[in-house]
């Protein structure tokens, strides 16, 4: 039990920045550049960690709470989730609600930290982030409902258990396909990837997530980046498990399937980012509402 937890945490902590490197490399290949080395996110984190803190005199403890909560939440959430074929280390009835709202908690603290600086730009970013994520929340819940209906269970470990393979072969596979698409959209929104937000933008007016962390520096910024990388892996684990419900039966095989799946997902995100333009800001809520209607439709299909 303890070994399980340690193993899963180790995988998450060691592995988290790598998908970001893969995404950047994919984008560089599409643009015909060589791009930063694959391990650049690790170097960035190490560099940020060696720097000192700079705090504005107007900020309070809330300003530091944002990065810390943002770092802790993905770690907690990962314990509720089966990584690949590994069973979830912690599992109880209804833990999927906790999973969804853990990320709500981290978002609250990130937004609060942004507001704490008193900068109007950061307030604007917080408003946008909260608006988009409150539109993304019903999508996740409806998708989890569809899975719960298929698995007849209310634990994340049960939802993503071995019955997924038979689900894909049942007549309800269509609804599972829609759920997969919806969760991928949520992954892009929650991690502020391109059709919704540009992680590399340098123009404050168009920033959403980035503008909220403008005032953080040094180790605090490092914590935010590390937390975001882990969030990508944790939410990606959900998508990967749905898309690749392979079960080899032994530990190493399951882990390999999971790791390869995450890297493939990173490549897919890179391709999406290179081939799509960013959506106009007023279009984003429309797309999100459309996606949540799609997830409702998946539920209708599954209940039929």
């Amino acid at each position: 039990m303890i070994g399980r937890i340690v193993l899963q945490l180790l995988i998450l902590l060691m592995f988290a920045p790598l998908p970001l490197g893969v995404i950047n490399k994919t984008k560089a290949l599409f643009a015909g550049r060589i791009g930063p080395p694959l391990l650049q996110p690790y170097y960035d984190l190490a560099r940020l960690w060696r720097k000192g803190f700079v705090f504005s005199r107007t900020t309070t403890w809330v300003f530091l709470a944002g990065p810390v909560v943002g770092l802790v939440v993905p770690v907690l959430a990962c314990l509720l989730l089966p990584f690949g074929g590994l069973p979830a280390p912690i599992s109880f009835h209804g833990d999927l609600i906790l999973f969804v709202y853990l990320f709500g908690l981290s978002r609250f603290f990130t937004a609060a930290a942004a507001l704490d600086t008193g900068s109007s730009f950061e307030g604007m970013g917080a408003v946008r982030e909260v608006t988009f994520s409150c539109l993304a929340e019903p999508i996740v819940l409806f998708c989890l409902l569809v899975l719960a209906h298929g698995a007849d269970s209310l634990t994340l470990g049960g939802l993503l258990g071995p019955q997924l393979t038979s689900f894909w072969h049942s007549p309800h596979a269509a609804s599972l396909g829609i759920v997969l698409v919806c969760l991928f959209v949520v992954l892009l929104v929650e991690n502020s990837r391109i059709p919704f937000d540009d992680p590399n933008t340098h123009l404050e007016l168009t920033m959403i997530h980035e503008v909220m962390v403008l005032d953080h520096s040094g180790p605090a910024l490092g914590m935010i980046l590390y937390g975001a990388a882990m969030k990508l892996v944790v939410l990606g684990a959900l998508v990967v498990r749905l898309a690749l419900p392979l079960q080899t039966g032994w530990l190493i095989g399951d882990l390999l399937v999971f790791l390869v799946g995450i890297l493939l997902l990173a490549v897919v995100i890179g391709v999406v980012e290179s081939t799509m333009a960013r959506l106009r800001l007023p279009r984003v809520p429309q797309v999100l509402v459309g996606t949540s209607l799609l997830s409702v439709f998946a539920l209708v299909l599954a209940l039929r």
Binding site: P171, A174, R283, P285, Q286, V287, V289, G290, L293, L294, V296, F297, V300, L301, R304
Partner: protein, 209 residues
């Protein structure tokens, strides 16, 4: 296989209801027509009857009418954005509502037992309803043609269920109707644009003898 096709058809309904680009809408409806032309073959196996139905649908709904519409956009120089009476999000909501309603309603219909299982009836009903929505909520004459096309697509799905019984003449009649409708609409489009320099059907309510 037919389930997958019909699912894509329903998703295209949502896309057309939510899309702001006129050309994208026309392409989507064309794709819908082309997908539906595969349906007779998938549903009833390759026979001469199904083949003719499929090829006819592909030629008219997948290629010819969309080509006419795209040409009309070029000729009349329409602004390439859809102008809805009510916003995209409410239309999408209405679309989802009628789709869910179609699924519920299809379960209550007194159908033959073999028609209950597939997605045919709900897909037909929701596509028809989506076409109606498009007809009602969009301002331009050309989007109303699109709504009309979607409506016909819905009727086509319903007809597939009976295509063993439906004579070719009936389907040909429907397609001819559609074509005439699109032609008439094309003439109307030209007249409106010559008269008002815009294609809003709103202006028509102010017409006098």
């Amino acid at each position: 296989m037919s389930t997958l096709l019909l699912l894509i058809v329903i998703l295209i309904n949502f896309y057309v209801l939510g899309s702001a680009r006129l050309v994208a809408c026309i392409r989507a409806v064309a794709l819908q027509g082309a997908l539906l032309s595969l349906l007779p073959l998938v549903a009833h196996g390759p026979s001469g009857h199904a083949l003719i139905l499929g090829v006819g649908a592909l030629l008219f709904k997948g290629i010819f009418i969309p080509w006419l519409l795209l040409r009309a956009i070029r000729e009349v120089r329409i602004r390439r954005e859809v102008e809805p009476y009510i916003g995209f999000v409410p239309t999408l909501f209405l679309g989802a509502l009628v789709t869910a309603g179609a699924f519920v309603f299809a379960d209550f219909l007194p159908l033959a037992a073999e028609h209950h299982a597939g997605l045919y009836v709900p897909a037909a009903l929701s596509t028809m309803a989506g076409g109606f929505l498009l007809l009602m909520t969009r301002r331009k004459a050309i989007t109303q043609v699109l709504g009309y096309l979607m409506l016909e697509n819905g009727i086509f799905i319903f007809a597939i269920l009976l295509s063993a019984a439906i004579p070719l003449m009936v389907e040909a009649g429907i397609l001819l109707d559609l074509l005439v409708g699109v032609f008439v609409m094309g003439i109307v489009l030209n007249q409106i644009s010559r008269e008002f320099a815009t294609l809003n059907t709103e202006r028509l309510t102010a017409l006098k003898e």
